[in-house]
């Protein structure tokens, strides 16, 4: 690259820089001559600066011009040869002015060169941004956990407290406390794993109800999520182990409409804002009336009704057994399989996948969306539209129900 100074002004490889010509030190003492020498040196220096091609060259030129033994600095040594103080002062000022001008030129040229050099340097550092990123190690939740978290968040927002009961459950809580008559075929619906006569692997998370009623009095709202067991063979749609959500609340004036509203909001939070809920009569010993509820959304099931779980008003026998007056208090309960939620929301068609722990399956849920947006609003609008569609008589009852 550009010329390397080997001591200025003696030799310059770069022919662009002319060797400065100056009068001999001792040839004259005429002031005008000194002054013109300053002018010449300055002009030459400015030219050289403008032509310098690199910051390194410029640094060398800088010291050759303005360094201790630089050519411009050297001019001051001639001060001694001028006797006239006036001239002496004028000459000194001219030299200092020239030095300042050259200094400024060096600085501005240096900035120019540096920016060009940086540009070139950065250009040479180009990377292919389309190459893959560095893979980090990432931990993530199981889909059933994500679903559970979502359930807890939605029901928590409605004032339901999250509690858990044991999986190895007393027969009493699993059946008797839930109004199962002894030796009733309703128990055949659930192939039970017995550990002893009195101890079973719980067949339903509803078993928590009795435990809660022993400790708390209404008003209460509880949500639980947990593992349940049924003694059946495994296939695509059956598993001996699965998970259940169970929600129940007791307060004054709790109605089927509150159950439907809560379920509607819950279902919309899980499956999207356009979901509707349908009740159908069903029998569970612990509720009366008892329903199963199905949901439908144009997007997910093409308008078909898909059964989601069981629900109803808590049976008055249960309320009475725990000292709650069913003439004053009422409550609802609903439950459903946790697995049903991702199965329906994401089209998982094989129940076995959930407990097999194939990471090729699980890792796909790392981007599972949280609670659907706009859900609360949709529910409210729904209720409002239903209310406006009601006759004044119905609205009066509505008022009575909610008051």
């Amino acid at each position: 690259m550009a010329g390397v100074f080997v001591g200025f002004p003696i030799a310059l490889k770069n022919s662009m820089v002319e060797k400065p010509t100056r009068p001999g030190w001792f040839q004259t003492s005429h002031n005008g001559l000194f002054m013109s020498e300053v002018e010449t040196l300055k002009t030459q220096a400015l030219q050289q600066i403008a032509h310098t091609a690199s910051a390194a060259d410029l640094k060398m030129l800088h010291s050759a011009l303005l360094g201790k033994s630089g050519s411009l600095s050297g001019l001051l040594r001639q001060l001694g040869q001028i006797r006239d103080p006036e001239e002496k002062r004028a000459f000194g000022k001219a030299v200092n002015d020239a030095k300042a001008e050259v200094e400024a030129a060096v600085e501005s040229r240096l900035a120019e060169l540096r920016s060009k050099e940086l540009e070139a340097e950065l250009a040479s550092e180009q990377i292919d941004v389309t190459m893959p990123g560095r893979r980090p190690r990432v931990g993530y939740e199981h889909i059933l956990q994500l679903t559970t978290d979502k359930i807890k968040k939605v029901m928590g927002g409605l004032g339901f407290e999250y509690l858990e009961g044991p999986e190895l459950e007393d027969f009493q809580y699993n059946f008797t406390a839930l109004n199962y008559p002894p030796d009733h075929p309703a128990m055949d619906d659930q192939d039970t794993f017995y550990v002893t006569d009195d101890l079973v692997l719980r067949t339903q998370c509803t078993a928590l109800q009795g435990r809660v009623y022993e400790l708390r009095k209404p008003p209460l709202r509880v949500v639980t999520v947990g593992r349940t067991y049924r003694n059946e063979a495994i296939d695509r749609t059956h598993n001996h182990t699965f998970h259940q959500v169970d929600c129940f609340m007791i307060d004054e004036g709790v109605s089927m409409a509150h159950l439907k509203g809560t379920l509607g909001l819950f279902a919309r939070a899980m499956f999207g804002p356009d979901v509707r809920v349908r009740f159908r009569p069903d029998f569970f010993p612990f509720v009366e009336p008892g329903v199963d509820y199905a949901i439908s959304t144009p997007k997910l099931f093409g308008g078909r009704w898909v059964e989601l779980g069981g629900a109803g008003l808590i049976h008055p026998n249960i309320l009475r057994a725990y000292g709650i007056n069913p003439d004053i208090h009422s409550g609802f309960a609903f439950g459903l399989g946790v697995e049903r939620i991702p199965m329906m929301a994401y089209g998982v068609d094989d129940l076995r996948l959930f407990l097999e722990n194939d990471l090729r399956f699980l890792e796909q849920f790392r981007s599972a969306p949280p609670v659907a947006a706009g859900v609360g609003l949709a529910a409210q609008e729904d209720v409002r539209s239903r209310l406006t569609a009601m006759s004044p008589l119905e609205a009066a009852v509505e008022h009575h129900v909610t008051a």
Binding site: R137, G139, E141, G156, E164, E167, F193, V195, D251, N317
Partner: protein, 674 residues
């Protein structure tokens, strides 16, 4: 229950198509499970809830259609059945048989004898309908009993009267040593609490379940005794379970059969047979007067959350066969004999709701008292613990609690379900490590960092135990290697130990690892530790024993840990004590310590902390070296001290003094500085 649609149309006159009738029944609570075309006719398959035995008959389903569908009209057959064929003239032929009931489990027993009959094939139309319903036609008398059972829900049994001894029926419990061979050819040794239909000498039929082989009707039968009875459902259920039988009859009796319909079924049978038969012998000791149930409509409307007028409500109930008394608030309802499920107001509220239509119920959010939702206490801490594990880079798995035995099972007595459907579900897990190993194998067995949180089960002299556990398995690259030849750290005992410390720290708990008192056979004997929290053992950490990892085809350096979450979180959550931070600069001093390898680092750690005093802000081990220049049995440890004062700058001299104190303390342990 499967039946051809024409059977329903025998009872109801309606324009509904089979599909529409199926949908209507579905919304009434009798779910249409399927509809198919058999021999040119639609056959409906209806699932009946276990409390609605009355729905296991065409009559019962017709009643539901009539209640819900305003435009439907009952047929003559329906009206006859509803009046229990009361207008049939009483036959004059005396009944040659008598019956006695000797057990409270039988509510009612009736029988009629037909003489001079021929038990040939049944009429074609009956055979066709039975076939459509999925049943096999057998003979006239058998087919008619089945057909009437489908129509009216009343199981019937036809005996060859000539094979009954003594002309007498006794309903009783078996005597010791009595046996009976049922229609399916199986001989049963009878138990004292089972209910039998007997002749004068011996059991001839399992009451309400299955007839006996010896007295069954055959081609040669000329005299038939037709039994129609009502039994206690729990008794039928117990008997059929003990005998391992399950029949259409027992299925109905277990749920409910209308005790007032017992005689009507005999009359219908006679109609179809076209023969009046003898007088009906009927004993009915279990007759129950149904008690009226009060209905407060205000309460009903509150519970349903929708408005039904009083009159409308009463209309619904009447159409369901209920007797409504009074018009006030409350009014009273006497449920019919076929609805034993209705005993309280709420049962009637359900009837009103489902007949009026649940689709009319609006969606409302609960009003009333605001309660604090979400979770608190230990539930909250469990979530934080799990989230910390995920932050540390572990993937959560969820696996079966029921499983087979595994080399990584914890020691101790197991909890087993009594009746597992297969050996793969014979035991409840007592550790999470087996399923972690399974999951590791399933996913290639290399470079995996997994955890699970869930319940484990144990058994001891004091009973059954269930506790929440968190298990970890870590093997291979701690971060994925990216380019060829790149050296990345691998999982070690210490990487998992560090993660466990960070994870337990997230719930404010301090874990210490100490050499185990008793070795855990699952783990490498010299690379395992007991995890201790506040003096109590709460878990284990270690490399899987090489012979176990070989058996499991996992990498030799596979590190596992398991913590008893309940034990870890059993103390109340530690309060966070916030320290002020010093704005003065820190000074670092290093110590190169030559010390016996036998001295546990914990002792060194303690000595540093105690001797370092307040000025010692932090210290850490930054080098462990043995080998060249280090005597056998010793190693050289590099320990960094970070020293800082609060509100004042530390001088070099002060720093040196602290270092000297620490060195002196370490000398007590036999350590020398290098």
């Amino acid at each position: 229950m499967k039946f051809p649609y024409s059977m329903l149309l025998d009872f109801v006159q309606t324009d509904l198509t089979a599909e529409e009738a199926g949908d209507l029944l579905t919304m009434a609570g009798f779910e249409l499970e399927g509809i198919e075309e058999v021999e040119g006719e639609k056959v409906l398959d209806i699932k009946v809830m276990s409390n609605r035995g009355d729905g296991l008959s065409i009559l019962g389903l017709a009643r539901e259609v009539l209640a819900k569908e305003q435009d439907s009209v009952p047929t003559e057959l329906y009206l006859n059945a509803a009046s229990r064929f009361a207008d049939r003239p009483a036959p004059t032929t005396p009944n040659p048989a008598t019956a006695t009931i000797e057990t409270p489990d039988c509510n009612r027993f009736a029988c009629r004898v037909f003489e001079g009959v021929t038990n040939g094939p049944s009429p074609d139309w009956i055979q066709t309908r039975l076939r459509k319903a999925g049943q096999r036609p057998i003979s006239l008398f058998v087919d008619l009993t089945n057909y009437v059972m489908m129509e009216l829900g009343q199981p019937l049994h036809a005996f060859d009267y000539d094979k009954l001894r003594g002309g007498r029926i006794v309903v009783r419990k078996p005597r010791p040593g009595e046996t009976l061979t049922t229609l399916d050819g199986k001989e049963h040794e009878l138990q004292p609490d089972q209910m039998m239909i007997c002749d004068a000498e011996r059991p001839v039929s399992v009451a309400g379940v299955m007839g006996g082989e010896e007295t069954e009707v055959t081609a040669g039968t000329t005299r038939v005794l037709l039994e129609s009875a009502s039994f206690l459902n729990t008794s039928i259920r117990r008997t059929r379970k003990q005998l391992g039988l399950n029949t259409e009859a027992s299925y109905r009796f277990e749920r409910s059969v209308d005790p007032d319909g017992v005689v009507a079924a005999i009359e219908r049978f006679s109609d179809l047979l076209g023969q009046a038969g003898s007088e009906i012998f009927d004993v009915y000791p279990g007759k129950v007067e149904r008690q009226p149930v009060a209905v407060k409509m205000d309460r009903a409307r509150v519970l349903l959350g929708m408005y039904i007028e009083d009159k409308q409500a009463q209309g619904y109930l009447v159409r369901l066969g209920m007797e409504v008394m009074g018009h006030g608030d409350p009014f009273y309802v006497v449920p019919p004999s076929w609805r034993p499920d209705i005993v309280a107001q709420e049962d009637l509220v359900e009837e009103l709701g489902r007949v009026h239509g649940y689709e009319e119920i609006p969606e409302l959010l609960p009003a009333g008292t605001t309660t604090l939702g979400g979770q608190r206490g230990q539930m909250e801490e469990v979530d934080r613990l799990r989230e910390a594990a995920i932050r540390a880079g572990y993937i959560q798995i969820v696996s079966h609690s029921l499983r087979d035995l595994h080399p990584l099972d914890a020691p101790g007595e197991r909890v087993e379900p009594r009746n597992p459907a297969s050996p793969e579900m014979a035991y409840l897990r007592n550790s999470l490590l087996p399923s972690l190993a399974d999951a590791a194998r399933r996913n290639g067995g290399r470079d995996l960092h997994l955890f699970e949180i869930g319940k484990v089960f144990s058994r001891s002299s004091s009973g059954f135990g269930e506790s929440r556990s968190i298990g970890f398995m870590s093997t291979g690259e701690l971060i994925p290697s990216d380019r060829k030849g790149e050296a990345v750290p691998n999982a070690t005992f210490f990487s998992l130990k560090g993660d466990l410390e960070a994870i337990s720290h997230a719930v404010g708990r301090l874990l210490e690892a100490s050499a185990p008192l008793e070795g855990d056979n699952r783990l490498h004997p010299s690379r395992q530790a007991q995890l201790v929290h506040q003096g109590a053992a709460v878990g284990v950490l270690g490399q899987i024993h090489p012979s176990v990892s070989e058996e499991l085809r996992l990498p030799r350096e596979t590190i596992v840990a398991e913590l008893d979450v309940d034990a870890l979180l059993s103390d109340s959550e530690s309060q966070l004590a916030l320290r002020p931070i010093s704005r003065n600069p820190s000074i670092r001093r290093d110590i190169a310590l030559l010390i016996d390898k036998a001295v546990p680092y914990r002792e060194i750690d303690q000595a540093v902390i105690q001797s370092g005093g307040e000025i010692l802000e932090r210290h850490w081990l930054f080098d462990v070296f043995e080998g060249q220049g280090i005597p056998d049995g010793k190693h050289s440890l590099g320990i960094a001290l970070q020293l800082r004062k609060f509100g004042d700058n530390l001088t070099d001299e002060e720093a040196n003094q602290v270092r000297a104190k620490v060195v002196a303390a370490l000398a007590q342990l036999g350590g020398a500085t290098r």
